[in-house]
Amino acid sequence: MRFTSTDRYIASRDLEVAVNAAVTLQRPLLVKGEPGTGKTVLAQEVAQALGHRLIEWHVKSTTKAQQGLYEYDAVSRLRDGQLGDPRVHDIGNYILRGKLWDAFDSDEPVVVLIDEVDKADIEFPNDLLLELDRMQFFVYETRQTVAAKRRPVVIITSNNEKELPDAFLRRCFFHYIRFPDRETMQRIVHTHYPDIRQDLAREALEVFFKVRDVPGLKKKPATSELLDWLKLLMVEDLPAEALRSRETHVVIPPLHGALLKNEQDVHLFERLAFLSRRNG
């Protein structure tokens, strides 16, 4: 079973190769890229394409590596001990399974998404080295080893907020999702909104790439912003002429709130528009 582009997700050839290499060699795939280029969606699509179940583990700044494996609920055991509950004699009753345990224990093959690994503490990836390498871990409380019945496909995404340790990187395949070029973007737009008016899509893409080209933007709009914006344009039913500007210089696009997410960027745009009006 190979991963290829679907009718909902356009994957470039290099992404296909990277995913297939990771699936074949059963190693984790680390995906980086600008926000909004479809890193998280990739895992869903891979699971879909391979016909596996997807287990998502969303990492937050407070997430500990241990939480992905299991947690020992000492408090409820203490309480049960006081109430004389017979459950208390088996410590296994108080072990709460984490996402990775679920994945390792599954009989059918699964895809595990470890989303935004860079959000967690700087040592988080180091604490998962062995677990991701051998796909097994040891539960101290019950003295049992949990090993993967079938090695899951692991997809890890990172937004580059923290550098990942070398030892961790060495165990992964790596793919950097490049920002799609115009042609790919057209295909992406088409897969998401098959019934969009051609002229509107063309003009919108034109404006979109122009906005991205403006130097000094703090947050360049990405694919997800474009799709949101297109949806807005379609709902508002704007004519394509509204986007077309006869002059070559910069204008603020209509409904720019969907594209520019930073007040400094909006400000920069206003300044540029003002300058070009004055000079034009």
């Binding site: 190769v17 190693r27 980086k32 309480r79 060495r170 790596f174 130097p215 000094g216 070559t248």
Partner: protein, 392 residues
């Protein structure tokens, strides 16, 4: 089979190891690449490169190795932050020059022409790039920065005839020679962390719970404590502008690493030496300047003071009232520095300048003396040393 290729990659500074090499061979054996060169390129890239900053270097080595191309001459020039370039251009251009640029067809056209000329020039001369730099009548002279820094050399002329994917070198922008990785800085800064319990009690205090439960004749008595938080407070003063321009990138890195590492990080800018005013955003330094006295009042002595600057200035800035290059100061820079270091219990100066050059400038020695020797080079070792000093 590809061992020399791996060695070539390592020579180019890409940290590919045996593990990665074996992974590549394994994937080849499993038939992931399907006998196409392009697939092999994709596969080896995903297996051997683990950071986007190496992608461009990988493309170059790949092209060179598999087509025996000539290596690009010289080290890849460093990219300057785009916004910074733009600011510089905005700042330096007079309205008349702006008009001239408009006459040439705007900023983009100008850059295009510049690229074209550079490409032409390379086919005529061997690697000479003076032409653009010194031509007084060329419109590019007006910029006042070296166009070489914009990275439009060899790559662009290759761009024209390039057909193969790796020759397109689409990852050029992401390559940078970062000597101090942010991770390294963060780990070094970690030493500074002091943990203290603050906020709502959410964590189980096991020891106390056991003790209280025993006291309570075995009835469970839960004790909770607040989670431990990073309680180090840092006041960062950054020298900005002038001779610091060449250190912009390192300072940015330090700043971004420090920002995520500390809960309380306050930053202000100064120029050359701190005087009676500091400012928050360099952009609007004239309207949002804050009196240094006020900063001293606002942030107590428990803050750790870190000054970042190259300490290269006229000695008069340190010793004489009115010595500042940009305004009239009633009191000398040295007086203000003493006031700062006297107020804060722990302070240090980080200097991005190479320590071997410290001896060449009088002001460095003077400031070092004022800081009682607590001036450290802005390298990983220097930052480690500084944090050890500050954590004492």
């Amino acid at each position: 089979m590809f061992a020399p290729f791996i060695l070539a990659l390592r020579q180019a500074g890409i940290p590919a190891s045996v593990t990665e090499y074996l992974a590549l061979l394994g994937a080849m054996q499993a038939g992931v690449a399907e006998y196409s060169v392009e697939d092999f390129y994709f596969l080896s890239r995903t297996a051997l490169v683990k950071h986007e900053r190496y992608l461009d270097r990988f493309d170059r080595v790949f092209g060179e190795y598999f087509r025996a191309l000539e290596a690009p001459e010289g080290p890849a020039p460093r990219a300057l932050p785009e916004e910074w370039l733009r600011r510089l251009a905005e700042k330096l251009l007079t309205p008349a020059e702006m008009a001239r640029i408009e006459a040439l067809g705007g900023f983009d056209r100008l850059m295009d022409t510049l690229r074209q000329r550079l490409a032409e020039q390379q086919s005529r001369h061997q690697g000479g790039s003076k032409w653009i730099g010194t031509a007084g009548t060329s419109p590019f002279g007006a910029y006042g920065y070296n166009p070489e820094g914009v990275r439009i050399g060899q790559a662009e002329s290759r761009h024209r005839r390039a057909v193969k994917v790796w020759d397109r070198r689409e990852f050029r922008d992401l390559d940078d020679e970062v000597e101090l990785g942010t991770r390294g800085i963060k780990l070094a800064l970690r030493r500074l962390r002091r943990f203290a319990r603050q906020g709502a009690a959410t964590e189980l205090d096991l020891a106390d719970t056991v003790r209280c439960t025993a006291n309570n004749a075995g009835h469970l008595d839960l004790k909770l404590v607040a989670e431990r938080h990073n309680a180090v407070k840092v006041l960062l003063l950054l020298d900005i502008g002038g001779s610091m321009d060449e250190h912009v990138r390192e300072c940015e890195e330090l700043f971004s690493a420090a920002r995520s590492e500390f809960k309380h990080l306050e930053h202000y800018y100064f120029h050359n030496c701190p005087y009676e005013r500091l400012w928050r955003s360099n952009h609007r330094r004239n309207d949002n300047a804050v009196a240094t006295d006020q900063v001293l009042r606002t942030y107590g002595p428990d803050y750790k003071l870190i000054l970042v600057g190259d300490a290269s200035m006229s000695p008069y800035e340190v010793t004489q009232p009115g010595g500042s290059v940009e305004h009239w100061n009633e009191e000398a820079g040295g007086v203000w520095l003493q006031r700062l270091t006297g107020h804060y219990r722990r302070s240090a100066w980080l200097n991005p300048l190479d320590p071997r050059r410290w001896g060449h400038s009088l002001s460095v020695a003077m400031l070092r003396q004022l800081m009682a020797g607590r001036m450290f080079p802005m390298t990983l070792a220097g930052i480690e040393e500084m944090t050890r000093e500050l954590a004492k």
